[in-house]
Point group: D2
Chain length 91, copies 4
């Protein structure tokens, strides 16, 4: 699981993305040019993706080794979950 | 530019994504399992991506043909912007 | 449609990717470490993606304007095809 | 590392992708419509991506647990490699 310092960093970054989404909503309402909206959507997707990378990194650095203490079955389970995650993100 | 009915549909969908981001922030704060957080991040990215597709579709269906009325240079400009957008999203 | 100089450039790049695929097959047969194989697969995907970008660019720079000469229906058809392409590549 | 049955399955799939690349080269040389070429490029990228998923799955199912036998440092090393791979593929 996530530890304190990481939680705070992730919360800050998620707040920023929430702000980006609200910004995009305003752009849709004005409305601004589609191309500008698409650029901001691409930026928000990239920011979300960087958060996913941070959580993935934490998972393999901390959570999978923690599972190892609980025995090989738990390690196997935690590793196999990664395949599903890789599949969703790699497309 | 976006027209009324589309603006409303996009605003509704962006509100939903804002809710998803807030949900992910709560999961980070509890904290929930990293895998569950990653699954929700993947879902939010996919939802943003579907919005991008809708805006892209509107752009090529409506904005590029509108540009055509303004002359070939404006069409060329609007089309060339698409290459940058394709580049950002296709990676 | 593609013109001569671009065809040659694309053929050269596709030959190089064919070489990359053969290299990956050799790595699988030796077999080499999975991580090394994954790095080469990522490189081949990125190379294919850059080719797609070049073809997309040619399409919007050359083919869509060519369609404009054939009338608004043909332009509409060529533009709407882009939405499907964007959808496939943006995921 | 990869085991026999998987090597054969991957070699077969890589041969098929090599055939797809050659097919795309022929389409470029004729030349065929850009949209058709883009569709085949998307199909080849998706096929490469499915191979990456199979290798990733093998890596976390077989290679990382194998590393566990060699001690915690080797496990840590094999897991940390996954972050780089996730980063390359998730963009």
């Amino acid at each position: 699981m996530l530890i304190d310092t990481q939680q705070q960093s992730l919360v800050t970054r998620l707040n920023r993305i929430e702000g980006q989404i609200r910004g995009i909503r305003r752009m849709v309402q004005e409305p601004r040019q589609c191309i500008e909206i698409l650029q901001q959507l691409a930026a928000a997707e990239a920011a979300l993706n960087r958060i996913s990378l941070a959580v993935f990194k934490h998972h393999v650095d901390i959570c999978v080794p923690e599972g190892a203490v609980l025995g090989p079955d738990e390690t196997t389970r935690r590793l196999s979950e990664l395949v599903d995650i890789f599949d969703r993100f790699s497309k």
